[in-house]
């Protein structure tokens, strides 16, 4: 079952060193209310697992600008100069992960798998230091599951069991991140009663969700 909490309560749960899988794609579908509460709370030394480092004033970019992030697994940082500057200054450790590989590695953790074999990255610097497994003459990189302590996601509607729906391309990485949090906190536009969502329209079953937060109007 889920508990409805305030953004400040969510931010207070997150401790230095925690690994955060955060949903969103270039800040669309990012849990902005939780992110703002974390900025206000001054969380530090975070590891973030994200598709992109977003914009300096939107999405997880705000965590970067406020120097709250010590390391990141990310596929795209082209829209955020702050993360580039911090990386060049040695203030942030970056592991660049191809986007599809990132999603499978996060999903693997949520699904109890140790990892996956993918052809993506073969012959590139992504393959450096990784085990190559050959199956019937074809090479694959062994990519390991990415663990996370918290998943912070943005959904559209939730019922009070934590069942979630999404809206258009704001779905993106959110259902995958949701599977992978030891604790999953979902920020939503609307909380409805149990039974108001059609069982067919639920994208993330409530079993993956621990806490709900109502999104600020924006």
């Amino acid at each position: 079952m889920v508990q409805i909490i305030s953004p400040a309560e969510a931010a207070a749960m997150i401790k230095p060193g925690n690994r955060l899988a955060i949903g969103g794609f270039l800040a669309v579908g990012a849990p902005e209310t939780i992110i703002d509460a974390m900025v206000e709370n001054g969380n530090k030394d975070l590891h973030i697992i994200v598709i992109a480092s977003d914009w300096e004033d939107r999405g997880v970019g705000k965590l970067v600008v406020n120097k709250m992030v010590k390391s990141a697994q990310v596929s795209h940082m082209g829209t955020n100069k702050a993360i580039q500057a911090q990386m060049n200054a040695g203030e942030i450790d970056i592991e660049l992960v191809p986007q599809g590989t990132l999603m499978e590695r996060v999903r693997a953790f949520g699904a109890g798998l140790g990892g996956i074999l993918t052809p993506t990255g073969l012959g590139t610097i992504v393959a450096e230091g990784k085990q190559i497994i050959t199956l019937e003459g074809k090479d694959y990189l062994l990519e390991t599951a990415i663990p996370s302590d918290f998943a912070l996601i943005k959904a559209h509607k939730a019922d009070k069991l934590g069942n979630l729906t999404y809206r258009k391309t704001a779905r993106n990485s959110n259902p995958i991140m949701a599977m992978a949090g030891k604790i999953t906190i979902a920020e939503v536009d609307e909380i409805v009663e149990i039974g108001e969502l059609d069982p067919e329209e639920v994208i993330t079953p409530g079993i993956f969700v621990n806490y709900l937060i109502l999104a600020k109007e924006n």
């Binding site: 794609f25 270039l26 669309v28 579908g29 598709i51 992109a52 990310v74 596929s75 795209h76 940082m77 082209g78 829209t79 100069k81 580039q84 990386m87 970056i94 660049l96 191809p98 986007q99 599809g100 590989t101 999603m103 499978e104 999903r107 993918t118 052809p119 993506t120 990255g121 073969l122 012959g123 590139t124 610097i125 992504v126 999404y166 809206r167 258009k168 391309t169 704001a170 779905r171 993106n172 990485s173 959110n174 259902p175 995958i176 994208i203």
Partner: protein, 217 residues
């Protein structure tokens, strides 16, 4: 790049698509292809952030904050579209369900290697979805200017920049030529109108195989 060059490349890319193809267009020059799809050809565009059936930009004032493409721009969707999560999106990509992907490039070489994501010492944007797209799509088309801004060939014997994927490029479309990547090397297939064979050969560092018939586009 001049508008007419962009349009020329876009139109040439669009000719590669068959009716019913599912296509992923990278940001920048490749998106130009969407403006040149021939009458009677229905192409469905994927956006790797979780959409099949990406449509044109919405009219100003009608943007939906939850409707963007992989470049972050506001878009619409067409009838028959579907939304899905990013893992499914890359299952589609890596699993060879996309008929063609079109990407920009910093360098391509005669072994079909592609470098398009990293210039050491400069800004590091990250590979995003490019490595998966190039690895998984049934047909990988590189669309770019033939030479860089210093006039140096971007089609090389061997890429010098960090690779996006090894040996995966099928076709190169530039403002000067259309080049097919085969096991034996690079076949020059077409030359831009107004150019000579010599122009193209001089502008290309890689060895070109010149078949008997080279068309104009």
């Amino acid at each position: 790049m001049a508008l007419d060059k962009r349009a020329m490349i876009g139109a040439r890319i669009a000719k590669e698509f068959k009716d019913g193809d599912y296509v992923n267009l990278g940001i920048g020059l490749p998106t130009e292809a969407a403006n040149h799809i021939p009458e009677g050809i229905n192409v469905i565009f994927q956006s790797e952030n979780g959409l099949l059936g990406a449509g044109p930009k919405p009219p100003e004032g009608q943007e939906d904050k939850d409707m963007i493409n992989a470049g972050g721009g506001y878009i619409t969707c067409i009838p028959g579209a579907s939304f899905f999560d990013s893992a499914t999106s890359f299952a589609i990509i890596r699993g060879s369900h996309i008929d063609a992907t079109v990407l920009g490039a910093l360098q391509v070489d005669q072994e079909g290697n592609l470098a398009n994501w990293l210039i050491p010492g400069k800004m590091i944007p990250g590979m995003g979805g490019a490595m998966d797209l190039v690895t998984g799509a049934k047909k990988v088309i590189v669309a770019m200017e033939h030479c860089d801004k210093y006039g140096k060939s971007k089609i090389l014997k061997k890429c010098t920049l960090p690779l996006t994927a090894k040996g995966k490029v099928n076709l190169i479309i530039t403002d000067m030529a259309v080049i097919e990547v085969c096991a034996e090397g690079l076949y020059l297939r077409e030359i831009a109108a107004g150019l000579t064979l010599e122009n193209v050969i001089q502008a290309t560092e890689a060895e070109l195989i010149i078949p008997e018939r080279v068309n104009t586009f």
